[in-house]
């Protein structure tokens, strides 16, 4: 008997639950700030990482590329930059909570 669809259904539910939990971890900023941050992500991060976040001089920021990377270290990279590479510190323009929200969006593929 093929239990594929049922198993897939359960997996999907588990994924949804997981993403809901993570969303609780970093709430979306109120508008218009959320839109401004998405604009920043696609245009200014996108200058190096690509408008569609598939990479360029900077590495790709797709959910696949970020899978398994600890969110904390990604948040730290956004805020502090990465010395020795062209990644600059974005701390002057973003709060820690906002960086967490962006990382969550990127990891879940919800940035588009």
């Amino acid at each position: 008997m093929d239990s594929g669809p049922v198993r897939r259904g359960i997996c999907l539910a588990a994924l949804l639950a997981a993403s809901l939990c993570q969303q609780a971890a970093a709430a979306a900023p109120a508008e218009p700030r959320a839109s401004a941050l998405l604009q920043l992500l696609h245009n200014d991060c996108g200058a190096c990482h690509g408008l569609s976040l598939k990479g360029g001089l900077g590495s790709p920021l797709t959910p696949q590329a970020l899978a398994g990377k600890p969110a904390d270290s990604l948040v730290a990279t956004i805020l502090n930059g990465r010395p020795g590479t062209p990644m600059p510190p974005w701390r002057p323009f973003l709060s820690e909570e906002e960086a967490q929200w962006l990382v969550q969006l990127l990891q879940q593929g919800g940035a588009r």
Binding site: K54, L57, P88
Partner: protein, 400 residues
């Protein structure tokens, strides 16, 4: 019976065709012949389209869609300035006919790319790739692949290619971001190109330029203060460092957008180059390549472009100063004007003889045409998140 059916068929066909034919003739009669010398292409980055614009009448002629991911795109022109080759971020080359405003050919040649060049004889298109790295050569007419040049030789995977520029004699120069090299590619036999490598040119070259006489190739370095210079008249002398230590121990400021280098940096006796991590424009003597000074500006320069006459240099800036422009007077090396014509001014392009400069204002969805004599806005045109503007005078210039 059959004959009469045929005759009826012919009459019907004639009745149907006659108005079409009239329409077609009328269309021909109402569309005057035109040249391409005052045309240009504007990249609309978010929508994957380009606008074809007329820089004499300052108007948009057409929009061509379906060009893929143009979040970073560059354009070169066929030698007759009829076709634009658009290199997209998604690794595609799109060949656009400026006269019919149609996409005539599109090849997906890599998965991530930002630019390319056309050979001095106009027959070969070279694409520079980030992923999977390397350079590919294509026939300019058919976009058939002619050869592929791997940059994997340094042993760390394929290096990203930056700063690809055409040089005289069907050669191309480019820099390798990951391995810190400059390669000179002789494509005079494009199916069997030859490579000359220059290693250890400096850390993290991010872009390059060929001087408009095709003699020099300069790679900008992100990883250190200075640039790498190759003099093709003295190729055996190799690559040397210029403008080393321009930061002179000062704290490097964050760079929120990489500068762009092209042959328009050279004005009169000097080259004007963006400093990395300093809010200044570097000035170098364009023969000795010694630093002749620097001009403080309000942010991290992105494009540092000389007017065609070389008298003034225009500078735009990285985030968060990308709503401003500064104009530098070359003889006095002073900023003479700061302009604020729109939000996110990403790209500038002068008309061939410099009477006007066109600006892309991404966040205001407009193009702004500034009169260079009065430094005032002459017109604005709507555009969808515009970025690069490329006029057809580039077709006859090296290093563009």
């Amino acid at each position: 019976m059959a004959g009469s059916t045929l005759a009826t068929g012919r009459r019907t066909l004639a009745r149907l065709l006659a108005p079409l034919l009239c329409l077609a003739l009328a269309a021909c009669a109402s569309t005057p012949l035109r040249g391409t010398g005052d045309l240009g292409v504007v990249i609309e980055r978010a929508s994957g389209s380009v606008q074809i614009v007329d820089n004499t009448h300052e108007q948009s002629l057409a929009r061509v869609q379906g060009l893929g991911d143009l979040s970073h795109a560059s354009v070169v022109f066929s030698r007759d300035a009829r076709y634009a080759y658009v290199f997209g971020r998604d690794g595609a080359i799109s060949k656009v006919d400026l006269l019919t405003a149609r996409l005539v050919k599109r090849v997906e040649q890599a998965s991530n790319s930002i630019g390319g060049a056309i050979s001095s004889d106009g027959r070969v298109i070279a694409a520079q790739n980030y992923s999977p790295g390397g350079v590919k050569l294509f026939d300019a007419d058919s976009l058939q692949l002619l050869s592929s040049i791997s940059t994997a030789a340094f042993g760390g995977g394929e290096s990203k290619v930056v700063g690809l520029a055409d040089m005289p004699g069907n050669r191309f120069a480019f820099a390798l971001y990951d391995s810190g090299e400059i390669w000179l590619l002789d494509a005079s036999t494009p199916t069997a190109p030859k490579v000359q490598r220059f290693e250890h040119i400096g850390k993290q070259p991010y872009d390059g330029l060929a001087s408009s006489d095709g003699r020099y190739f300069i790679a900008g370095l992100y990883g250190e203060d200075g640039l790498a210079l190759f003099d093709s008249w003295h190729a055996d002398a190799g690559v040397r460092r210029i403008l080393g230590g321009y930061g002179r121990g000062r704290q490097a400021l964050p760079v929120y957008k990489m500068p762009h280098l092209r042959g328009w940096s050279i004005a009169g006796d000097y080259a004007f180059l963006p400093a990395i991590g300093q809010h200044e424009v570097l000035v170098a003597d364009n023969r000795s390549w010694k630093q002749a000074g620097s001009v403080p500006v309000l942010g991290q320069p992105v494009f540092v472009m000389a007017e065609p006459g070389g008298r003034r240099v225009w500078v735009n800036f990285a985030f968060p100063d990308n709503d401003k422009l500064q104009v530098i007077d070359v003889p006095s090396r002073q900023v003479i004007k700061t302009l604020q014509p729109g939000r996110a001014i990403l790209h500038m392009e002068f008309t061939a003889r410099g009477d006007a400069v066109w600006l892309s204002s991404r966040d205001d969805n407009k193009l702004v045409v500034i009169d260079t004599a009065t430094l005032t806005t002459r017109s604005t045109l709507p555009a969808l998140e515009p970025s690069g503007i490329f006029f057809t005078w580039r077709a006859s210039r090296m290093g563009m």
